[in-house]
């Protein structure tokens, strides 16, 4: 990994103190009460979404999304020519950069992208590609930058939605809007829109059980066309559970779509009135 020479980094090896204080609370996971969630939601309930465009004035298009405590900001820039390519691409490209702010997670992140963030960038790119009319800007590249300001779970889904709103705000031609949602699976529980602690629980398998469903599924779709644009699953889940979960997620994605539409309509109306 290349060393960051532009900034003074923190000590090389440091760990958040939480991991030591949590040791005696390890039994928490077993105790975790699945009948009610910490924020009093039901299993199928999503957190409230706040969405706003035009947050970054220097970008062509931008969006800010809040899902519960998860806060993500996204900006999209003008298409630029692909210069360092030795061929001509008939299709345009989307370049995505996903970054957790250094202070966004429990553990401090360094300024350079780590493997997880690089992977999320690629997922974000693939989630958006089916929705954007790539043939409209051949040999050009649209840059999408996503910064997670506060990670309280489901930040990838939030990033995808923010990016799709920002792209629409930037006037990039699109076949449709992309919505995304996350579900955490732990045994028989389907936790819609999990928080970061719930994500942590769903990622670990209880010690004594082998045949146990656990994992996280993030699904991005184009609800206006009934298409899945990206799936990302980790854990250990059987096919039936996946099918059920994807059904819940596609339904949820359809429900979210009006939020994005409303936000965009508001933006258009505002700009239209300003022009007058």
């Amino acid at each position: 990994m290349p060393v960051d020479q532009r900034r003074i980094n923190g000590p090389e090896v440091s760990v958040p103190y939480h991991i030591y204080s949590d040791f005696d609370k390890k039994s928490d996971k077993e105790k975790h009460d699945f009948s009610k969630r910490s924020d009093k939601r039901t299993d199928n309930e999503m957190r409230k979404i706040f969405l706003k465009t035009g947050i970054v004035s220097q970008a062509k298009g931008s969006a800010y999304i809040e899902i519960g405590n998860t806060k993500v900001v996204c900006s999209v820039f003008d298409p630029r020519e692909l210069s360092n390519k030795n061929g001509y691409c008939m299709q345009g490209e989307i370049y995505c950069e996903f970054k957790f702010a250094p202070f966004s997670c429990q553990k401090r992140k360094i300024h350079q992208q780590n493997a997880e963030e690089k992977q999320y960038s690629l997922i974000l790119q693939r989630a958006l590609e089916p929705a954007v009319c790539l043939h409209e800007f051949p040999n050009f590249q649209v840059d999408v930058y996503v910064m997670v300001l506060d990670n309280a779970g489901s930040s990838l889904a939030a990033a995808i939605m923010a990016a799709s709103t920002a792209l629409a705000n930037a006037g990039v031609p699109m076949f449709g809007l992309v919505t995304a949602s996350t579900i955490g699976i732990y045994g028989n529980h389907y936790l819609m829109d999990p928080t970061d602690t719930e994500e942590g629980i769903c990622n670990t398998q209880p010690d004594n059980e082998d045949d146990f469903n656990h994992g996280i599924i993030t699904l991005a779709s184009l609800p206006q066309h009934n298409q899945i644009s990206e799936v990302f699953l980790i854990g250990s889940i059987d096919t039936n559970t996946i099918n059920q979960a994807t059904e819940i997620l596609t339904a949820a994605n359809k429900d979210i779509c009006p939020v994005l539409q409303q936000c965009l309509v508001k933006t258009i109306m505002k700009l239209h009135n300003e022009k007058k």
């Binding site: 690089k118 690629l122 980790i234 096919t239």
Partner: protein, 335 residues
Amino acid sequence: MAETVLSSGEKIFILHGIDAILSFLQFCNYKADFRNDGRRRCEYRSMEIETKLMPQTHGSARLHIGNTDILVGIKVELDIPHADKPNEGKLEFFVDWYVILLMVIIVVIECLVFFINFQIIIFSATATPAFEGKGGDDLATEISNVLTAAYQTRNAFDLKTLCILPHKKCWKIYVDVLILQCGGNLFDAVGIAVKAALNSTEIPKITAATLDGGEPDIELSDDSYDCIQLDTNISKERNFVLYLKYEIYIGDNYIVDPTLEEEVCSTSSIVMSILPNGKISSVVKLGYGSIQFNTFTKMLQMGEIIGLKLNKTLMDVLKEETQFGRQRRIFGFLK
């Protein structure tokens, strides 16, 4: 990265073969799922696999499927556990390219048959949509990411078995994947090769591990043949390694084990990893197209069936290989 250039006519040829678009064939109740190499939609190419072929590694495997050639070497080293997971070891994946150099050598050495195969492969960057970007670098990141995701669950690989002394010492397994040739279906090939290599990995046996005044003290067995086989000794019933499978979705139909030409024609694909107990440990969609919900469900089911079958066959073959014992002749690259 190798580039495959297909004309639109060639693409249509491949697509129509898969799509079975010839209506008169359907009337005759004739199944027309032909692929350009004569396979059916869910048929694999034949594979060649060899394990324990590199003396310097703790475990290794080489896999040949179609024109894809993968070499996996596994090194085991001592490390200090992560502070937040004190009783777990570490597992890391690295993927590397060696495409261009080796291909040139093969073209020179091998006979004409090989040469004809390589006619369609032109060496340069900007290839199929999947390989676009930083000259295959993205794809290498993608493969290692998918591997990491697939092996994350404890069902796939129990990192606790790699712990020697909690907080102090653990084994770190480096899985280095070298892609020698790319003839399509890299994800599967890498997945199978990694599984075989991990299966053949032997960890040196530790005779004593004590804490001496807060400092860890580890004694290894003197006999270098005295090793622990990763798979069998640690957990008898659980095959810890799993299987990645790759489905490419062309038009309305989907196929497994695509060749490079078929990959060029496809708009999107699903990579999933299946555990021996039938569970799925990771699913990722690749490519720039989107998928319908129904197709996705069908692909998952088909993937599960094929994955389990493939897994069983592979384990049988590997078992057969181990029965030859240490006197087995190693073929390596002299084939």
